[in-house]
């Protein structure tokens, strides 16, 4: 019976393992982006409710080495281990809020301190496990070699770093500042949800350089190392594990942590390219960079700008498509309908990924645009495009409904009175459908305000450029403070959405009144 139980847990663990060897680098983007998605970011590995398995929340960069160590430990103890890998910043919040996990492994001391201050871990259970180095990576085929001298970065227009509150992102920024490179490079940085997303952006050449951990290098075939950042330029990378206060299996968890820190664990860490745990005194040499928080005003402004631009840009296509679908029968209509509606049912991150595949510098269209000097990803227009594509189905459906509500006999009557179809459209159809069309635009506007998944993939999360309310809230969720700012943004978001929906209802009612021709 035990056998069967362990088998189940093992499958669950396999399903949860982030990176089997056959997963190509492209798929990584989806995995990384999925990890960025807002809903259910509290990972819930399946099937261990009530089982003996311990649940470990661990920094994304440990995604390969820790499962290997866990396998050895399971062989000795018979206790399976489930993992949830993500950026440390997100896991720290989950560690405080889920109450289900047993071990938290952070990629820096800052976040472990944060959890400890909130009494989230068992006192005295902190254990340093390993260290790591930072490297500058470039796409495998890139001729450039960005290094210590600013001039070596001249060909680089975009540098991928992990988020400003993610350890890898903090270490990287700290190092670039210490080396005197930050002032020239700050404007070029794009922030990824985790160090693995940053790695993938370089592999797909969306960014011409990135800063990742040395141990991330073998994960992707699409990158090569350009420069190992000197160890003394940043606080020593320190992976620290601790037992969570809520753990129901603390003795087992403690044993696992001791095993990982012990000779066998060290051997496996070293084999995977990790450095030995830094000396305790070197950890606190530097202060972590001050916490960075998104600006509320900028997020609201960008949200409104993106939503408005997407709504206006979509108006023409939505009217055209809505009209075609409402009034015409033609071959391939169901195919067109499906094509228009598909972003409504696809997960937005998938839509974003498809757009990135098409428009990224490696994409069919994007490569061609790149040659013309137009780089769309991670720009404001990219955020507009993402919001537009994801919002278009609602837009078209609403406008199709508005046109369908217009009795075609009015149009026929207008023809008999000498107005050809174009004039009839202008004089009869459009005015009669107008409240419904405006309602559709308001709905599309509201949807654009709420867009997250496709935006974060195609447009990134660039403060002051593409960081909308949704993205700002998401960034705040992984920063150690900022609950007040979060609530401000949440209030703004709810107010805007409710306002838009009320407007939508009002306009629909007006459309219905307009259609009444009987008393």
């Amino acid at each position: 019976m035990d056998q069967r139980r362990h088998g189940t847990a093992f499958r669950a663990r396999l399903a949860f393992r982030a990176h089997p060897a056959w997963v190509g680098p492209i798929t990584w983007a989806v995995v990384a982006c999925a990890a960025l998605a807002p809903a259910d970011s509290l990972a819930q590995p399946s099937g261990n409710e009530g089982s003996d398995a311990i649940l470990v929340l661990a920094a994304a960069s440990l995604g390969e080495v820790l499962p290997g160590i866990a396998r050895r430990w399971t062989r000795e103890t018979g206790v399976p281990v489930d993992f949830s890998f993500d950026a440390t910043s997100r896991l720290a919040h989950q560690a405080m809020e889920t109450g289900r996990a047993d071990v938290f492994v952070s990629a820096d001391a800052v976040w472990m301190d944060w959890v400890e201050e909130r009494k989230g871990i068992l006192p005295g259970s902190r254990t340093t496990l390993a260290g790591n180095a930072l490297v500058v990576v470039v796409p495998a085929g890139s001729p450039g070699s960005p290094g210590p001298h600013p001039s070596t970065w001249e060909g680089v227009t975009r540098i991928a770093l992990a988020g400003e509150n993610v350890p890898a992102g903090r270490y990287a920024q700290e190092a670039l500042e210490a080396l005197g490179l930050w002032n020239t490079l700050a404007e070029k940085t794009v922030r990824a949800g985790s160090v693995r997303s940053a790695l993938e952006w370089v592999a797909t050449e969306e960014a011409q350089a990135g800063v990742v951990y040395a141990t991330d290098l073998p994960i992707s075939e699409g990158v090569r190392e350009a420069w190992t950042i000197p160890q003394d330029a940043h606080a020593a990378v320190t992976y620290t594990g601790a037992i969570l206060a809520e753990s129901a299996r603390a003795p087992l968890a403690e044993d696992f942590l001791a095993f990982a820190a012990g000779p066998e664990g060290r051997r496996l860490f070293a084999a995977a390219g990790f450095l030995p745990p830094p000396e305790p005194d070197s950890q606190a040499i530097r202060q972590a960079p001050p916490e960075q928080r998104p600006s509320v005003a900028s997020a609201v402004r960008i949200s409104l700008l993106v939503a408005l631009a997407a709504t206006l840009a979509g108006l023409g296509p939505a009217i055209f498509l809505g009209w075609i679908l409402a009034r015409h029968e033609f071959r391939g209509k169901s195919i067109l309908t499906t094509a228009v509606l598909i972003p409504l049912v696809l997960p937005p991150v998938v839509t974003g990924f498809l757009l990135l595949s098409l428009l990224g510098t490696q994409g069919v269209l994007g490569g061609w645009m790149h040659a013309l000097g137009i780089d769309l990803p991670f720009t404001l227009p990219a955020a507009v495009l993402a919001a537009l594509v994801v919002g278009l189905p609602l837009y078209v459906v609403a406008i199709r409904g508005a046109f369908e509500a217009v009795d075609p006999h009015y149009e026929e009557l207008s023809w008999t009175l000498g107005s050809p179809p174009a004039a009839t459209f202008r004089r009869i159809t459009l005015p009669l459908a107008l409240p419904g069309i405006v309602a559709g635009a308001v709905l599309a506007f509201a949807r654009a305000l709420g867009e997250f998944g496709a935006t974060v993939v195609l447009a990134g999360n660039v403060e002051g450029e593409t960081r909308t309310i949704a993205l700002a809230v998401y960034s705040l969720l992984e920063s150690p403070g900022g609950r007040e700012t979060t609530w401000l943004l949440v209030t703004a978001s709810v107010a805007l959405s409710v306002g838009a929906l009320l407007g939508y209802e009002g306009l629909l009612r007006r459309q219905r009144r307009r259609m009444e021709h009987r008393t």
Binding site: Y410, E412, S414, T416, L417, G418, P420, L432, M515, T519
Partner: protein, 216 residues
């Protein structure tokens, strides 16, 4: 105007609707024609075929000697070039336009003509109103005025009196008769009611089982 030279209306169209399918044949020199038949017999389809609105109609339609449709010669005049005065059963005034804008919609008449016609139809006091504030009889009269002000070559009336009570029917019918005689506009009226036909038409046709029967 002998029956041998059907100067007003000469048509033969087949429309694949109903059982049996419609096979409509009509040749007449009468200026006011009524087609009577039970509901669902295809009366509205006949009017739509004349107006050019019935895409499935095959055959030919000649009005006042002019070929509007002749599938053998690949002729099909678009609806907007036929100038028919179509008054549908439920008036269908454009709900977003005032009575005045509805009357003037075709652009074929001057502002004075619009007001004169509104006077005759006793809707002059309603010119600035929206259709939803009108009674059924008022709507019917505005719809009639809108059709007449388009300077039609033929007036197509679909159950034009169904929304009116008897005194009003006679009043409106008299008006229609006067206005069309003044302008020498032929009328085709369809109704399920023999009485309606009596009021206005010189010649009564019957539509039954998909076939038109000429007056006895």
């Amino acid at each position: 105007m002998t029956p041998a030279s059907p100067a007003v209306l000469d048509l033969h169209v087949q429309v694949p609707v109903g059982h049996p399918a419609l096979d409509l044949r009509m040749a007449t020199a009468a200026k006011a024609i009524a087609v009577v038949g039970p509901s669902g017999a295809g009366k509205s389809t006949l009017l739509r075929a004349i107006a050019g609105l019935e895409r499935r109609a095959r055959g030919f339609v000649t009005v006042q000697g002019e070929a509007w449709q002749d599938d053998n010669a690949k002729v099909r005049l678009p609806v907007w070039e036929r100038r028919v005065g179509w008054v549908p059963q439920d008036a269908l005034l454009f709900p977003h336009l005032s009575v005045r804008e509805n009357l003037a919609f075709s652009g074929a008449s001057t502002a004075q003509e619009v007001e004169a016609t509104a006077d005759v139809l006793e809707v002059a006091h309603l010119l600035e109103r929206r259709p939803r504030n009108l009674s059924g009889g008022e709507r019917q009269r505005v719809a009639l005025g809108r059709a007449l002000l388009a300077d039609p070559r033929i007036l197509l009336l679909d159950e034009p009196f169904s929304a009116l009570d008897r005194p009003l029917r006679i009043q409106v019918a008299t008006l229609v008769g006067r206005l069309t005689r003044d302008r020498d506009t032929p009328i085709v009226l369809v109704s399920h009611d023999e009485e309606d036909a009596e009021i206005l038409a010189q010649e009564h046709w019957h539509l039954n089982q998909g076939i038109l029967t000429p007056p006895a």
